[in-house]
Subunit: 608 residues, 2 copies
């Protein structure tokens, strides 16, 4: 038997399986940024019993883990292969678990004219009598006509229960119509009409429960996308889909299950009945969009990275395994391209980028970073695989923005480090905003050259040389929760350089091909959870964001989710989304002649 602690989940031992595979099948969350292909060394677990039932550590494990950890029983879950049957107990240490994100779900406050797709009409239906023939549905149609609505279609579920419902309600009902055309529910008069907007991120899911009639936000829920156990970025999940027969089904079930739970959770939090949820509006990157809709997405995994569908799409929730009230509709915003999805269209809506108000740039930073440049005349967009560095991956002591993550760092002239952690608890690692601060401060204090090279001549306080090369000490072992030095390594700096260069390159190419420079920008919107927490001056100083005045920069949080909320409340916003997606010209960075050169130049830790 194979036991995972502290979850307590277990299964019979399967010889030949890796611990990561076993964990994924069981739904045990283990960080595996690389999707289990053996490059991120994030999936550290401790084998408490049954070490002898595993094959010996691989070379990669020996290189990735320090000897004392190996002795202690540490293994990389993706490398450790089971070779014999018996009791194996595996502990997933906290730093390897993907739990309780500090998720940012606020977004912008925007105003939309209330014009929801789902509306309720109070009707009085004429009961049938002998000398007035005609069916119940005809009577309902007539009652709707009496209030100025012409139903053209009716959901089978409504017909199925129409007789008992009308009798129970005494021939007075609330008729819920989709787009004023399709009757999707008959219910008691006065029941609220609810909807939920969802941002389906690669890493996090955010849901907003709203009364679509009043526009009121009733509750917000968020959680880690349970798909992270199958790989943390789009490409590793695509690889999982391509390589595992049941891969797509697992990802589909996993995210749909989470959405259904979130609907339940949001309704419960707001003390409203789930049966009143009539529509959900979804945004997400193109892969997430395809997976929720059950669309085989492998064309997104290879050039020319073609989506299966871009246009907005409405489907009965039932058909894609989503459950709310009867007649539930699931509506997705349009995509633009394989790597510019409906979430980016939501960003544009939320920031009003579609309106002709000067030259503006939107950057939504995530494991994939999307940028949209909008001038009076044109709208172009690009996508850059900035990677999960700012989520804490590829960084030796990196972690997500959980309790105990170092999120702010400053270094004074005497090279004393000061930091603060999420929730103020003892430090356990460094999250993205902390890493950006660290690099920025290290350059400022001369610990790092602009090229990214750490000064290793032994003269500077805090720099040590270990088996991992040079490291800069942020929080000493005596002072933190993990009882090991928390450092920024030379390797970490290189990862930050690559990630920020990917973002900067996209921005520069977009500006360049539109004939602009950073100085021409009237405004920059920075979206996404990390983008909203990071220190903008730090990001400018290391050359991630263009060097423009701070008053021209706005951190807009989960703008994609805000865009989804706007569409939940407004059919006009949907039309704008559709039009905008068609207007957005996608620029494929990788095929540009100047891409490589711009990228190399962008590695420098200096403002641009």
């Amino acid at each position: 038997m194979l036991y995972f602690q502290p979850d307590g989940k277990h299964a019979p031992v399967k010889v030949g399986q890796t611990l990561l595979d076993a964990a994924q099948v069981l739904g045990v969350e283990i960080d595996a940024v690389c999707g289990g292909v053996g490059t991120c060394a994030e999936c550290r677990v401790i084998v408490k019993e049954g070490r002898e039932l595993l094959r010996r550590p691989t070379e990669y494990e020996v290189n990735s883990l320090v000897p004392e950890d190996l002795d202690f029983g540490y293994r990389l879950a993706c490398e450790a292969v089971i070779k014999g049957d018996g009791l194996i107990t595996v502990e997933v240490p906290e730093e390897s678990r993907g739990t309780k994100h500090r998720l940012q779900s606020e977004g912008l406050d925007t105003h939309v004219k209330l014009e929801p797709a789902v509306n309720a009409f109070q009707i009085v239906v004429e009961p049938p009598v002998l000398d007035s023939p005609g069916s119940m549905y005809e009577r309902v149609e007539q009652a709707l006509k009496n209030v100025g609505v012409r139903a053209e279609d009716v959901d089978q579920g409504v017909l199925a229960g129409m007789g008992p419902t009308l009798r129970r309600l005494g021939w007075r009902a609330s008729a819920v119509l989709y787009n004023d055309r399709r009757l999707i529910a008959l219910t008691e008069s006065g029941k609220p009409v609810l909807g939920m907007a969802f941002d389906i991120g690669t890493t996090k899911l955010a849901g907003y429960l709203m009364n679509v009639t009043s526009g009121e936000l009733l509750s917000k829920v968020s959680r880690v996308n349970p798909q992270v156990v199958y790989g943390e970025d789009v490409m590793t999940r695509l690889a999982y889909i391509l390589n595992e027969k049941e891969g797509l089904n697992r990802l589909v079930r996993s995210v749909r299950g989470a959405i259904n739970e979130m609907i339940e959770e949001a309704c419960s939090a707001a003390s409203v009945p789930r049966e009143s949820v009539r529509e959900i509006v979804l945004v997400g990157n193109t892969l997430m969009h395809h997976i929720v809709l059950g669309i085989e997405p492998s064309s997104l995994g290879a050039s020319p990275y073609s989506p299966v569908v871009n246009s907005s799409y409405a489907v009965e929730g039932e058909k894609i395994g989503l459950s709310g009230g009867s007649g539930l509709i699931a509506y997705t915003l349009p995509n633009v391209a394989g790597f510019v999805g409906a979430d980016c269209v939501g960003d544009v809506l939320a920031t009003g980028l579609d309106k002709p108000e000067g030259t503006r740039l939107l950057i939504d930073i995530g494991t994939n970073t999307e940028m949209v440049l909008c001038s009076e005349s044109a709208m172009s967009c690009a996508s850059s695989p900035s990677g999960p560095t700012f989520e804490g991956a590829h960084v030796r002591h990196g972690m997500r923005a959980l309790s105990g993550a170092i999120e702010r760092i400053s270094i004074d002239q005497s090279l004393n480090v000061r930091y603060s952690t999420v929730d103020g608890t003892p430090a356990r690692g460094i999250c993205g905003s902390g890493v950006v601060d660290a690099v920025s401060e290290m350059v400022k204090r001369g610990v790092l050259e602009r090229s990214g090279r750490m000064k290793g001549d032994g003269t500077l306080k805090g720099i040590v040389r270990s088996q991992h090369g040079l490291e800069y000490l942020v929080a000493g072992a005596s002072d933190n929760a993990i009882k090991k030095d928390i450092t920024v390594t030379q390797g970490d700096v290189r990862e930050v350089q690559k990630a920020k260069a990917a973002i900067a390159t996209g921005i520069k190419v977009l500006l360049d091909q539109a004939g602009f420079s950073g100085r021409d920008l009237d405004h920059v919107f920075v979206a996404g959870a990390f983008g909203s927490y990071m220190d903008i001056p730090s990001a400018i100083s290391i050359g991630m964001l263009p060097d423009i005045p701070l008053n021209k920069m706005t951190q807009v949080g989960n703008a994609a989710g805000t865009g989804a909320r706007m569409c939940l409340l407004s059919r006009r916003a949907r039309q704008t989304a559709e039009d905008t997606a068609k207007r957005m010209r996608y620029v494929e960075l990788a095929t540009r002649a100047d891409f490589q050169q711009t990228f190399l130049k962008s590695l420098e830790l200096a403002p641009y």
Copy 2:
């Protein structure tokens, strides 16, 4: 354990259950015309083992079964209640089983312009390349535009598999559209587009598999409606729905399961893939229509007998548990009223009654008989609960038109009886057409008075007096398969009188309220399986049908099924059906002042 022979079906004994309930749960077919309420005595079974585990025969059983049968182990399944656990073996004798109907599925030959709702278009899709963005679906839309079609919507299932499908087919495909608007399938070029028309009768189901592109009929299938185990007519099934918590679900599952099996069977018979079936078109009486669509129908069971929906309705097959090819649509013709359903609209289409061609009458005889009277100026219809007498119920030696059923009877002047049986096998009972012949001949030869009274003075050959009263011997015990005399009883004659009077009353009222008499009729169409087998002169002579020249009478078989086939092939026919259903004025017989008087007069066994 409770075993049923010869099916071999079995289940644990449930004390308190009747044998009929147990049989229905197991799907063992036992005739129960009355729906198990204990009035028809059709559900005779033989308890072979475990008699002591049943409660003693009820008074009704003792009255219904002869003593030697009771001694032999005969019980009525609806009355026999299990009182103890142990082995109970029950044989369902052939006469109590509802199997292998001789079903009439030919219908009229009519001609329709081919204009099916489902069409395939051969398309060549431009594969995606780097400098031409846009999704696969947009490419398919463009390819459809190239052949003159504008897709407005796409089935989620098509999107789900679009990528792999297009790659597999080399970007050349057959795009299947519903109403030229909704893309419901992408498949190999040249695959046929198939559809099935169904007549969902109370007693029988008939299915026609067609190539909707060519109009070719590929195969025909039929079977007994498996719902008969829950009662043989509309009212007993409604009672079952009202009285049994799971009643509606059972009826729904039962008929949908049969439809799915028939699709499979028809495709297998024609050696075509079920995956190519894209639409099914259904007709049936209003209750059957509601049940197939899963609509709670209890409003049909009480005045004012209001249907839930009359208009034609299209729904995804998947939504109502029907399975054919992906994207399958189920389309139902419109109903007119609670007792004039889509099948009657099919009758009208098939007989061209909607066309202005003189004064014509259509009669579709079944357990419920519908009539439509059409003059140049108006179209009226009525429905009469003629009952299952002509299906062999309520008749002492009645049976359905199975092998061995006496279907034709003549009596010569010397009162010698001659008869023929279905399939020419030894007689087992008398079916509807035989009963009509018998009554007609008995009147002709003076065995019966016009009032229906059998001459019981002992002077006439063949008339005997038994515990059941007077009986007329048709086939002696030595001469038949059941080794008991097969007779027509005085009670049987009364049943025939009631049934034929119900039909005649409907006809007379319709004619009367339109200001016509039988002589004004230019033509009469007789539809339905029984109506097509019965002897028209016999039916006229006993006053079931109006007395008009035989050359003005046409037996049209399953016209309802033909109407469904027309709609499968033609969108115009659907429009006609919709318009016709709205034009047909429903006349409620029971509320007419002259109804009772007309009915009593119609009991007479004489032409009108």
